[in-house]
């Protein structure tokens, strides 16, 4: 047995490695995805005041801090037992939309599009956003500006683009000014236009990558996420729904706060990233592997697969086309990219609705209260999937226990299975071209894994490839340049 480690996995939001195990004939026997960072948030948050949690846990991740800020604030709302002022809730939703837009744009334009537009096999030295700026300056510029639109929503509400100290238990710290509302409205059409352009471009690319579509995590599984009580696409509130590969409801209207009843966590020796699984599908004491029936996927693809429809006209039109192409449930993780673009479109529509809402500039945005409940669970849809923050506090509001289940972690099993599937498809013998390794990484990239936050306990991921002997001895470390 030989082992190949891709280290670091690049163009993903975190520190990771991928191991490929080859049998003596040089055929792929197994593949593993390792997350190599550990940060310890669940430990050092203990003893801190509840009110600092949004900003503190926001620092788990610089890519989607807003998701954590919002989940932490929601958990805080539960503990204060307050009802949010209507505008505060709307503003939080607006910020989350900004967050989805910027993060999805980053994933698509900055990180993944170099694979599609420059080619999986292109020069690795150029295969990045700077290379794209060189070859496709107009598209790159549009992508950058689309992300900026999302970041501007965040900054105009929270005062800064990254790590805004804005959402707090009980509401938000400041409202939206009329001036900022108008500025955002003005920028909206261009964002929508770019989204359409990207969607059209991606559809033309699909035919170019049949093998990738077929192998990038293309397997039946469960999908999990939030939907509205009516079953519509949701990104901030709502209830948990789980569907199977046919779209049939496995569970619906689950209370997010009861997540421990239906989500279990497994830890593996080879990764700091824990692997959540769907508990009802796993027997007591059963080992959790990427083949487990407990495997589920979250994130853009899952959100599109679980909802009845999105609820805004332009996005629903795209969703209809998406389902015409792939069926009621799209199984290939390659379509995460596609789903992401549809979600951006949905977000721009939702942003428009919020900005036109006469109540959006109301200044009553915070409810004050003391500690009323000793536990709170805050759940929100982060760009990469469903995010759980679970806090226990003492009577004074000091955190006594923290559990966080992070979007990317929930895709951990799926990512492991994906890299293995890609490797099985493309690796034909011991000579492995760089482009193949890149495809394997791209399989992880499709999930847009955000390891810095999924390793709240854990952290980041670039990729590395090492060759091991059958005895497990390291033969060589493959480095691609």
């Amino acid at each position: 047995m030989k082992r190949l480690v891709i280290d670091p996995v690049t163009r993903i939001e975190g520190h990771a490695k991928i191991s490929l195990f080859l049998d003596d004939a040089g055929k792929l026997a197994d593949a593993k995805f390792h997350v190599t960072e550990f940060r310890g948030f669940e430990a050092f948050c203990v003893g801190r005041p509840l009110w600092e949690m949004p900003s503190l846990t926001g620092r788990t991740c610089g890519i989607c801090p807003v998701s954590h800020v919002l989940a932490a604030a929601k958990a805080g709302d539960e503990i204060l037992a307050v009802k949010l002022p209507e505008t505060a809730l709307k503003l939080r939703r607006l910020m989350n939309l900004g967050q989805l837009i910027q993060s999805h744009a980053l994933s698509f334009f900055h990180l993944s599009s170099p694979d599609f537009l420059l080619g999986f096999d292109s020069d690795p030295a150029k295969r990045n956003v700077f290379g794209l700026m060189d070859v496709e300056p107009e598209l790159a510029r549009r992508g950058i500006r689309l992300r900026k639109f999302g970041q501007d929503i965040i900054a105009k509400l929270g005062g800064q683009k990254i790590h805004p100290a804005w959402a707090v238990p009980g509401g938000v710290r400041q409202g939206l000014s009329e001036e900022h509302r108008l500025e955002l409205l003005e920028a909206l059409p261009e964002a929508q236009e770019t989204t359409f352009l990207a969607l059209e471009l991606f559809k033309t690319l699909l035919d170019k990558f049949p093998e990738e579509v077929a192998s990038f995590g293309n397997f039946p599984s469960l999908f999990l996420g939030l939907v509205t009580p009516e079953g519509l696409w949701e990104h901030h509130d709502g209830l948990i729904r789980v569907v199977d590969e046919t779209g049939a409801l496995v569970a619906d209207k689950l209370e997010p706060a009861d997540y421990l009843d239906y989500i279990g966590e497994a830890s593996h020796n080879h990764s700091y990233l824990k692997s959540p699984y769907y508990r009802p599908n796993v027997a007591e004491g059963e080992a959790i592997t990427p083949e487990s029936a407990g495997l589920y996927r979250v994130g853009p693809l899952a959100r599109l697969n679980i909802c009845n429809r999105i609820g805004t006209p332009l996005a629903d039109k795209e969703l209809t086309e998406f389902r015409e192409r792939f069926g009621r449930v799209a199984l290939s993780s390659f379509q995460y990219h596609y789903a992401r673009l549809i979600e951006i479109l949905a977000c721009t529509e939702a942003v428009a609705l919020h900005l036109q809402d006469p109540k959006i500039t109301d200044t009553r945005v915070r409810a004050q209260a003391g500690i009323n409940v000793l536990r709170g669970v805050g759940v929100s849809e982060a760009p990469r999937g469903t995010l759980f923050h679970d806090y226990h506090v003492d009577e004074n509001g000091l955190i006594t226990k923290v559990n966080m289940i992070i979007a990317t972690g929930q895709n951990n099993l799926a990512m492991n299975r994906t890299v293995k599937q890609i490797a099985q498809t493309f690796i034909k013998g011991p000579d492995i071209a760089e482009g193949i390794l890149n495809r394997i990484e791209a399989g992880a990239r499709a999930f847009d894994p955000c390891l810095s936050c999924s390793t709240h306990a854990i952290g980041q991921m670039p990729m590395q490839v090492e060759l091991f002997s059958a005895q497990g001895e390291l033969l060589k470390r493959l480095e691609r340049n």
Partner: protein, 241 residues
């Protein structure tokens, strides 16, 4: 009787009995301070306002130095700047000052001092002490991680409010602020919940309960107002007169 003195080669007049700091502030001569607060007694413990006095080998704290006829001082020599910068760095190194997630981020005197001194990193090794947060008081919180031991809270509580809830326990690197006999603040029976300690804290150590990161704005001038109002028996705020 006005007297003559010289600060940084500039001839000035002042009143007998004034401190150098008072004179310097009136004349717009910058002098960093941390433990000093108008309205409270002088502690002289932060050592940031030390100045060079002509004819003396010892540096003197401007907050306590009474001006005398012919006094000649320098307030911003290279040596003083070097010392002050080190003092600020040592303050950062001895506590757990994580500005990014502090309630006083952006409204913090320690942070301001770092900016003034040009501190862009700490050359000394961080101590990472294990310290606790006390949220037992219904209205306020105390995070010892951020305490710089300026003792403004101790003095405001003792001298202005008269409660003496706060004091210092332990010594050296273990010195720390305690309420009553090292009981949780919430069970300190001497505390009148007057909030003066919170008002005078230069950093994020004392804060209103329920404030989140970067929300805490202190009001240290309150003790000066109270002290002078009592002295002058005039309780109208100056701007309202």
């Amino acid at each position: 009787m006005p007297i003559n003195l010289n600060i940084n080669e500039q001839n000035l007049k002042a009143q007998e009995g004034e401190t150098l700091l008072t004179v310097a502030r009136r004349e717009g001569i910058p002098l960093p301070t941390l433990c000093f607060l108008e309205g409270l007694s002088v502690a002289g413990s932060c050592r940031l306002c030390l100045v060079e006095v002509e004819g003396s080998s010892k540096l003197q704290p401007a907050c306590a130095l009474k001006v005398t006829e012919g006094l000649s001082v320098k307030t911003a020599t290279e040596r003083l700047k070097r010392y002050r910068k080190m003092i600020v760095e040592l303050l950062f190194a001895e506590g757990n000052h994580v500005c990014a997630v502090c309630v006083s981020n952006g409204n913090c005197e320690l942070q301001d001092l770092a900016v003034q001194m040009g501190v862009d990193h700490i050359r000394f090794s961080y101590q990472f002490p294990e310290r606790k947060v006390d949220l037992s008081h219904p209205l306020f919180g105390f995070d010892a991680n951020r305490c710089v031991l300026c003792t403004r809270c101790v003095r405001a509580c003792d001298e202005i409010e008269g409660a003496h809830t706060w004091d210092v326990a332990g010594r050296g690197q273990s010195a720390h602020i305690i309420s009553d006999m090292a009981q949780p603040w919430g069970s300190a029976t001497s505390c009148t919940s007057c909030s003066k300690c919170v008002a005078v804290c230069p950093v994020g150590a004392l804060f209103g309960k329920g404030v989140s990161v970067a929300e805490m704005k202190h009001q240290p001038a309150v003790v000066d107002f109270l002290a002078s109002a009592r002295r002058e028996q005039n309780w109208h705020k100056k701007e309202e007169q």
